[in-house]
Amino acid sequence: MVPGPARSLYLHIPFCTQRCHYCDFAIQVGGGDLQDRYLQALLEELRWLVEARVPAPLESVFLGGGTPSLLRPDLLERLLQAVVAGFGLAPQAEVTIEANPEGVSSEGVRLWASLGINRVSLGVQSLEDDTLRWLGRSHDAAQAERALAVLRRGSIAALSCDLIYAVPGQDAATFEGGLRRVLEFQPEHVSCYELTVEPGTPLARGVAAGRRQSPQVEDFLEQRRLAVAVLGEAGLGQYEVSNYARPGWESRHNLVYWQGGPYLAAGSGAHGFLGPAEAAGLGFEGTGAALRYWHLRNASSYMRSVGDGSRGLRGHEWLTPEDLALERLACGLRLAAGVELQTSAQLRTAAHLQGLGLLEFSGGRVRATSNGVDVLDRLTLELAAI
């Protein structure tokens, strides 16, 4: 069951100053002149959503990208005002904006706070210039540290930092050094993602041509453990494979994804997920256990599609109960809280995996051990095989 209506909203802001070498997200490089038109389309989609859905105030809003911090202040203001006016925000709602270091200023942070943004997710990625260059980032380490300082001086309560590990050429000691420097700013939340070579990215082309090294398994294993230890020591517990937080500061928006809850989405490339009743209310035909829908990835195509009344949609799929069960299992195992198993066959498999030191039982649930996290996808398949 997917309980409705959705109380989380994802908004995609595709603009970036450049494409990072490893990035395969739906982004638009430059496009300053597109911002007005894009926002218009986004507001149009939101208006339609507001009209069509059962009113329910939002518990979380996530402005992701792209680089939402590139959005012009007046446009950002209009967007958030429209969200508040149209959907309504629950008291204590989590409102996150993703920002890149070069887009952070005291003035900007003040504006964000005044608009109700209470969480910033900063794309630090690394505090080593060599690594940042290797990744094709648009900022250097000094800029990132300045941004962190600015954010800590401001009044936004929650700071999250994104870091990338297992980058070729960056050894464990260097990674640990960067991690500790980030911790000096006492972030409430850290996301540590391993570098992945996604098809079609400049990095993938470099690897294929033999110009660039691909990430090494040894680095992944070592640096992931290092992150767990160092962050844990600083009071940030691992609550998802790649996410760490002080108790109570976990990302509520992302937890909705991982716990299989419903969420709305608007903007190019954005993915939404709804229970059957709400999906039907929004005009999606067909039936199933739940519906996932997604938008056109290209910003211009998205705008055109909204303009001609097609709502910017690229596709949707109805999940069968089996699909839903597999997703719940896959996401649930990623969480420190683990999952509740459904069948006795699953319990037998789990007992076998426990014997191998990969799973542990806690209460009525199972969760991956540290060794288990390294092979989590395989554990998921083992438990799903029934």
Partner: protein
Amino acid sequence: MPSHSPRQIRNFSIIAHIDHGKSTLADRLLEITGTVSARDMTEQVLDTMDLERERGITIKAQAVRMPYHAEDGQDYELNLIDTPGHVDFAYEVSRALAACEGALLVVDASQGIEAQTLANVYKALELGLEIVPIINKIDLPQSEPEQVAQEIEAVIGIAAADCLLVSARTGQGVDRVLEAIVTRLPAPKGDPEATLRALIFDCKYDPYRGVVVYVRLLDGVLRSGTQIRMMAAQKNFAVDEVGVFRPGMEAVEELRAGEVGYLIASIRNVRDSKVGDTITEVGRPEPLPVPGYRQASPMVWAGLFPVDSNDYQDLKEALERLQLNDAALTFEPESSLALGFGFRCGFLGLLHMEIVQERLEREFDLELITTAPSVAYRVQLRDGQTVEIDNPDQLPEPGLVDFIEEPRVKLEVVLPKEFLGGIMELCQERRGEFVHLEYQLGDRALLTYDLPLGEIIHDFYDQLKSRSRGYASMDYQLAGYRREQLVKLDILVAGAKVDALSAIVHREQAANQGRKLVQRLRQVIPRQLFEVALQAAIGGKVIARETVPALRKDVLAKCYGGDITRKRKLLEKQREGKQRMKLVGSVEIPQEAFMAVLSLDR
């Protein structure tokens, strides 16, 4: 259409090496005679199975009747009997040839005669067929028709001047082929008044009409209502329909001596209609059967197991369905500790096995694990009994065995002299014994070896091709059994013997093979969640060991925002890969592992 007198009938087949243009020539003949209109012409009309078209080979024989108005002003009935083109189906070829008075020998103008073609030509000559050599592909720049004609004269003894030069692709010279069929091939003899005598050269199963029997009438007349007797099968039937192929089935009133066609007689099982059997009439004194009948018998055996054990019944039904149309396929239930319940199947050769396997997977949607093919060994036990085993795991305990004999073949290879060294080396590696070497015209040699059948069933042919840059060709026939020092090599995975991985190997090669086999298995068995030990053992003694280390990483640390669909699709893809593997104990073993014993470097 009036029935022709035997003088106006010509029955012929086409002998050619694969790719030398048999199907293209057949298509041209059908087109020119108007049997198939150009509009209906699909590439290679005669190869009707999908698999045949894909692989460019003929698996089942086909027959087609073509009307032809010859230059002498007379109308003729030309029956083309198309034959299978692979060494696995040599017996079927011989029966199709026995149904003809003549054969077109098609040779590629740039390649010359290949060994297998030659073997079929000799077979045709033995059966008294008249041969018309045709040199094809003369439109290609590298063609050397004169040299090939000289070669034909030297090897087969047909004057070079009698060769027809043709391009089946462009149609050049094909009209001369039709004339040659009429003028150079003899008309069938045979007496319509005599007792019915018809040769079965193929049959196929039709789900609505039962078995369709392809026949060549030597004597007598066959019409609906005739009470027939299959002489070898010792079964009687009443004929419901007789007809001819044009190329679709078309009923006719009667088939007379000399003609080629089909009969339908409510026959439910292809085993009652054995290729090579003679049909006669019930109630009349039995004539002499057509000589050369042989029960089709398998040469190699392999276990077929469903990956999902719930598919056992489906596999059984699928094999029964295939067997309806494939009298050479045998199967019986087999149970393996490792693979569960399946079937031990007998095949004519590896190609036959691949075809059956592919049809089961494609037409019946079954996921299968096939064990390494094995030949049948004769085991002499100490208590005086002899047992024949076609599954290495059935080899009795060494203490009970007096000695083991393995089947051998006489292998003939035709090749350019420059590759002799490499090919002899190959035969030597496969425990072959040199028999004979004969130089032929030009730079060719005919090499004869005596070697174990078990050594040539797998990649021998591929090796032969690669070590001769494609120029060598081969043919073989069984040549008895020989006592050898053979032992059973067992494989243990995670400490447990996997019966389906056992192999019978020569004692001298056992240690080496065992070591290589576990090394190979280490490469093909994917990492599991735990370390897996692989051991090779002979008679309980471990002779080699390898370890598949535990899986170290299988997780994407990134979950793509709200796009959980992507995550799920990736998992589903991984799951598909997993499902193609067989769970043996707690270890997942892929199909390649069961074939690993075949792909060892020597």
